[in-house]
């Protein structure tokens, strides 16, 4: 189906199902219950899940396939966001030109940065990309203020030109407010709420569009992984030296891969601008570049679904785990006598709320040490264990064979 092997097609179906059912799956707790604060099914966060999923999928095409670790991918995300914002301001409030242009501009920027950075490999490549990204961040925050809005950032305004005709989202809005990004009149913030019993599920247009784009991006990444191009990229990771003595020029492969990866980041940035039309330079900071590295490694480098899982997990932690406060803890431990409750709360407190980074760090260390293949390897081990329990002998040879199929 769709040019995919059955196994890959099933994976695509699983991801599609997860994405479609996300508003339900992410809201497992009834409204008003004590656990309701762990519900992640609100539009803003769901959009972030899939947008960072796209970002990580693209990063994984570079890092997972070729082993080249870029520490500057946030630059492409930021460039995509700025490009998208300018299209929203200049062309139309319609998100489609914004998304397309953010990919194109990010592609051009990654072509330039990649052309220079790919002269080196290994740690030198990482440092070069980091340097470029920090340059981009500094430029955006200071010198390029006329384009980027400097530290205040870039927003849509009432008097933006928006030169395209009205039916394409140009012109000014009818009601005199700043128009919201839309798709042929459907605003990205348009939301429907469905309540079933005590549960409340939110369906949001912005999320729907991000989800469709993410599924397309995921599909393209599967095709790249299974293509001869993808095979050459994996060969670069394995032994670049041998590949050039086998008659292949590795540079165009690397550059193409870097640009594809940069365009994924640009796409993610464009979607961010389209969902929430304000961009600041902090989006390009090195911590943002580091975050996508964490997502990919946490989920599983070089696996198809790993980066998506990693992105989801980190964004969940960032938005949900960080909201647990002292009062919540006191409620959880209220079963214990007062003196014990005090001790328990003071032990757990540093790991929650603003301390969520600490928990994330510990989790990251645990994954690196015990599951070098990330969450996907964890899933695989559980799967093997279950199969082993059923009495089938674990077949080591079969695992090695899978990539060739």
């Amino acid at each position: 189906m769709l040019g995919l092997e059955k196994k890959d097609f099933n994976l695509l179906l699983i991801v599609a199902a997860l994405v479609v059912l996300a508003p339900v799956l992410l809201n497992p707790f009834p409204e008003g219950s004590a656990m309701a604060q762990f519900n992640a099914g609100y539009p803003d966060l769901m959009q972030r899940f899939v947008i960072f999923g796209i970002f990580a999928i693209g990063f994984n095409i570079l890092f997972g396939l070729t082993g080249y670790l870029s520490f500057g991918h946030a630059a492409f995300l930021g460039v995509g966001s700025y490009a998208g914002m300018w299209m929203l301001k200049l062309l139309s409030i319609n998100v489609i030109p914004a998304i397309i242009f953010s990919m194109l501009i990010a592609g051009l920027v990654s072509l330039a940065i990649g052309y220079i950075s790919l002269r080196r490999s290994g740690i030198y490549f990482s440092i070069l990309t980091l340097a470029f990204a920090q340059m981009a961040f500094s430029l955006a925050a200071s010198v390029l203020t006329p384009i980027t809005g400097g530290e205040t950032g870039l927003q849509t305004n009432l008097n933006d030109p928006r030169i395209l005709p009205g039916f394409l989202g140009g012109g000014s809005s009818a009601d005199g407010n700043i128009p919201k990004p839309s798709l042929f009149g459907i605003e990205m913030t348009a939301t429907y709420e469905i309540s079933v019993g005590n549960w409340l599920w939110t369906l949001n247009w912005g999320y729907a569009i991000c989800a469709v784009v993410m599924l397309i991006a995921f599909y393209i990444s599967i095709r790249i992984f299974r293509s001869p191009f993808g095979l050459m990229l994996r060969a670069i990771k394995s032994n670049q030296h041998r590949l050039s003595y086998t008659g292949l020029n590795t540079r165009p492969y690397m550059l193409a891969c870097f640009v594809i990866s940069g365009m994924y980041a640009g796409l993610a940035g464009g979607l961010m601008a389209a969902m929430d039309p304000q961009v600041g330079a902090e989006r390009m900071q090195w911590t943002a570049s580091g975050e996508v590295v964490l997502m990919t490694i946490l989920g599983g480098v070089g696996t198809l679904i790993g980066p998506v899982l990693g992105a989801g997990l980190i964004k969940y932690f960032e938005n949900i785990f960080s909201k647990i406060n002292k009062a919540t803890l006191e409620m959880w431990f209220s079963f214990a006598p007062d003196w014990l409750e005090g001790i328990l709360v003071s032990i757990v407190y540093p790991f929650i709320g603003k301390g969520w980074h600490l928990t994330l760090g510990l989790m990251f260390m645990a994954v690196i040490i015990f599951l070098p293949g990330g969450l996907v390897e964890g899933g695989k081990r559980i799967g093997d264990w279950v199969r082993g329990k059923r009495g089938k002998a674990a077949n080591d040879g079969a695992e090695v064979k899978t990539p060739a199929e």
């Binding site: 001869p228 050039s244 086998t246 292949l248 594809i260």
Partner: protein, 252 residues
């Protein structure tokens, strides 16, 4: 005129003159061995042929094209493949994928950014790769990860990768180093079969005289960066200069 003409090649590493005035002419469709004691400059010479090193002086012509100044992938595309002293393979990939990559390089050239094809739908590549693997008796291992192979198998895989490109000149840098006797004999048989098809030129660097005298039709003896003699195997065995420089200690 041979298919490979090396003229006056010299290479210096700091204070060491690794090669000086090397002249070598390899005739098409023959097996030419280069022997010599350790440090004689054999590997340096090979590195100059595949573009890993650029000689300070002299010229290297392959089939009328200068090799100098070309990058390794361009030289490979001219028709020169190399088997390395320590096997260079794609360890993370399967045996079949290793050979497939070589087949892709032969079919599609130095780069084809075929990002929307599917490797498993390239039936002609797969058939070609399996055919070569069958030739080197590795077909049943085609699904194994290359890094898990034994050293002898890694070498055979590397040879399969080179052969699948149907090179006009195959350079072999100690193809039997570190192999068990049985593996060595298998390799000799394999190379003999290839030689007897008479559509490939081979240039072998080897320490094992058994291998050299089983295969070579022409032997160049290199000592201290300069060729001493170039002769047929029979004449080499009795050559006084060679005995003095090299074979004096070897069991022939």
């Amino acid at each position: 005129m041979g298919i490979l003409e090396v003229k006056n090649v010299g290479k210096r590493f700091g204070g060491l003159q690794a090669l000086s005035e090397v002249n070598l002419s390899v005739k098409e469709n023959t097996v030419h061995a280069i022997i010599g004691p350790n440090g004689a400059g054999k590997s340096t010479l090979l590195n100059c042929l595949v573009g890993k090193l650029i000689p300070d002086t002299g010229s290297v012509m392959f089939d009328g094209n200068s090799v100098l100044g070309r990058s390794p992938h361009e030289i490979n595309q001219l028709g020169i493949s190399r088997v390395f002293q320590t096997p260079e393979i794609f360890g993370d990939l399967t045996v079949l994928e290793n050979v497939s990559i070589a087949c892709f390089a032969k079919r599609d050239g130095a780069y084809s950014l075929n990002a929307f094809g599917a490797v498993n739908k390239e039936n002609d590549i797969r058939e070609a790769a399996e055919h070569i693997l069958d030739d080197v008796n590795m077909l049943e291992k085609s699904g194994m990860q290359a890094s898990s192979l034994s050293r002898g198998d890694k070498r055979r895989l590397e040879m399969a990768m080179c052969l699948s490109q149907k090179p006009r000149l195959l350079l072999l840098d100690e193809p039997t180093a570190g192999m068990a006797r049985a593996d060595t004999n298998n390799t000799i048989d394999l190379l003999k079969t290839i030689r007897d098809r008479r559509n490939i030129t081979m240039c072998i660097i080897e320490h094992d005289m058994h291998v050299v005298f089983s295969l070579a039709e022409r032997i160049t003896v290199l000592a201290q960066g300069t060729p001493l003699v170039e002769e047929t195997p029979d004449n080499i065995k009795g050559h006084p200069k060679v005995r003095e420089a090299y074979l004096g200690e070897a069991q022939v």
